[in-house]
Amino acid sequence: MAKTKVLERKPLSFAEKTFLPQIVTGLKTTFTSMLQKGVTLQYPEERPTIPDNYRGVPTLVKDPNGREKCVSCQLCEFVCPPKAIRITPGAIDTDAEPERAHVEKAPQEFDINMLRCIYCGLCQEVCPEEAIFLQDIFSLSGYSREEMINNKQKLYELGGTLPDKHFKWDKKKSAEAAGNAH
């Protein structure tokens, strides 16, 4: 068992009993901290640096070729605890995007209601296509309820493009062409 060491407590000296030297020390401390530079960030003009894994507003991203990644699987809609996501699935326009015809599905509508979203990040976690990301937007406001619902266009605007290592659908296509589709 560890030995408890009892520290001897010295009786206060007369000067300490008057508190005055301590008060002077305290005054010195506060005065020096007054002369130091403040740590305030002048918020609207200066912004804090947001770490990479920050969970901000959920957004939809495109792949480096500028193509839509979401395949409208609706997993995020199912997993979203407060039911903030509403997706209307649709087919890919094969005439407009022949190189993506084999993906078959894309969202027609994709709404995230930011009044419901709790920024849990489950949508990002569950997405098989890495199409939805919670990025660095942390202050979101609007004048009406409608304004607070991010539609597909807005979500892509906010999301932009993230680097993609997989190019899953391109690989799929070339594999198919090589005759070993699964």
């Binding site: 506060t30 005065f31 130091q36 403040g38 305030t40």
Partner: protein, 381 residues
């Protein structure tokens, strides 16, 4: 014209009084700003730095500096208090509820009448104080009237009809009574020293007692060489501690103590009535600082053992006022500085400090000084 000449003696005092009130109120609002700024600097923040008045605030560079220092903030603060919705809780005792803030502020504004703030040399070559009413017993008036301010707090606490304000009011009254004694006793040695032993009148005869009676002006004039604080440090310390307690400032802000009493006596007050309490607190601080400067820091005298470098003319008077104000500003700063240095005392500690330490010390100090003065007078006569 004749009518004007005849009415001038009546009009001028009013003009002076209005002038002084406006300066004093300006000081109050800017000490609120000083409090906010100094507090934030001590805490590593920036403080109010956004309020900008059109035109003045848009002068290049200077406007930005003034905005950054928050110099327009008091205007915004005042307007906010004026235009806020006035909510009177249903359970208050209306009459006293409205009366309380007025009673809190009025004494603080009344005492400034007898506060000398500079000196001038009149036509006969006699130095005279710059003061609204040059009363012989100025200090007694200040002590008497300023402690009436506690009625405002007690009334506010009582008429609010809710328990936290009530506790605040009770604490304030007990605290004021305890520290008033020590304060008065700490003052006596100063006046005794300032008055003794006597002076030679214009015919060269020795007159006992002070030329100025018990006036504050006399105390300041007696400090032309050594400031009182240098040879009466104990009196100064006692007075300063009592002053902090009387002005309800941290570490003695028992009446407010927002951590255990919500907001203390002004919990139920909002908008301009709260603003009045706020101004009253700062008015008390300014008055307290002014008195401390007059009694212990040499008033408008330049430095200990250094004669005033300014002359006797108008220029000299203006500089004496400026120098006095500079010292007052330092004291106001000291009040704020102290606030962020010391934590609040526990209530029983406040009481035991007042009765068991300050009061005996003050009595001892008084007796000691009396003996010294008596010895000094017998030996030098």
């Amino acid at each position: 014209m004749e009518f004007l000449d005849a009415s001038l003696p009546y009009i001028m005092p009013i003009v002076y009084a209005v002038l002084m009130i406006s300066v004093f109120m300006g000081l109050c609002s800017y000490s609120v700003l000083a409090e906010r700024k100094v507090s934030s600097w001590i805490q590593g923040r920036v403080g109010p730095n956004r309020t900008r008045v059109p035109l003045v605030g848009h002068i290049p560079i200077l406007g930005n500096v003034m905005t950054g220092l928050g110099l327009f903030q008091p205007v915004a603060d005042g307007l906010k208090f004026l235009f806020k919705e006035e909510i009177v809780p249903g359970h208050v005792n209306k009459g006293y509820y409205y009366l309380a803030p007025i009673i809190a502020l009025a004494p603080a504004l009344t005492t400034m009448v007898v506060l000398p703030f500079g000196r001038y040399v009149d036509a006969d070559g006699i130095t005279q104080p710059l003061v609204l009413a040059n009363v012989d017993l100025g200090m007694l008036i200040i002590l008497g009237i300023s402690s009436l301010g506690v009625y405002g707090i007690v009334l506010a606490g009582w008429s609010s009809n809710s328990k936290y304000p009530f506790l605040g009011g009770v604490r304030a009254s007990a605290q004021m009574i305890s520290y008033e004694l020590a304060m008065g006793l700490a003052l006596l040695p100063v006046f005794m020293w300032a008055a003794s032993p006597g002076y030679y009148d214009s015919e060269g005869l020795f007159v006992e007692g002070s030329r100025y009676g018990m006036s504050l002006f006399g105390v300041v004039q007696s400090q032309q060489a050594a400031w009182t604080i240098l040879w009466q440090p104990l009196s100064a310390l006692l007075f300063l501690v009592a002053l902090f307690a009387e002005t309800n400032r941290l570490p003695f802000d028992m009446a407010e103590s927002e951590t255990d009493l919500v907001g203390g006596f002004h919990t139920e007050y909002g908008c301009f009535k709260f603003g009045l309490f706020f101004v009253a607190e700062y008015a008390h601080i300014i008055m307290g600082s002014g008195i401390f400067v007059l009694l212990f820091l040499g008033g408008w005298n330049f430095l200990p053992w250094v004669a005033d470098p300014w002359g006797d003319g108008i220029f000299g008077s203006v500089l004496s006022v400026a120098w006095f104000m500079a010292k007052v500003f330092f004291m106001i700063f000291f009040f704020i500085w102290m606030r962020w240095t010391l934590p609040r005392f526990r209530y029983d500690q406040v009481m035991s400090l007042g009765w068991k330490i300050l009061l005996p010390l003050a009595v001892g100090n008084l007796v000691l000084n009396t003996i010294i003065i008596a010895l000094y007078d017998t030996l030098t006569r």
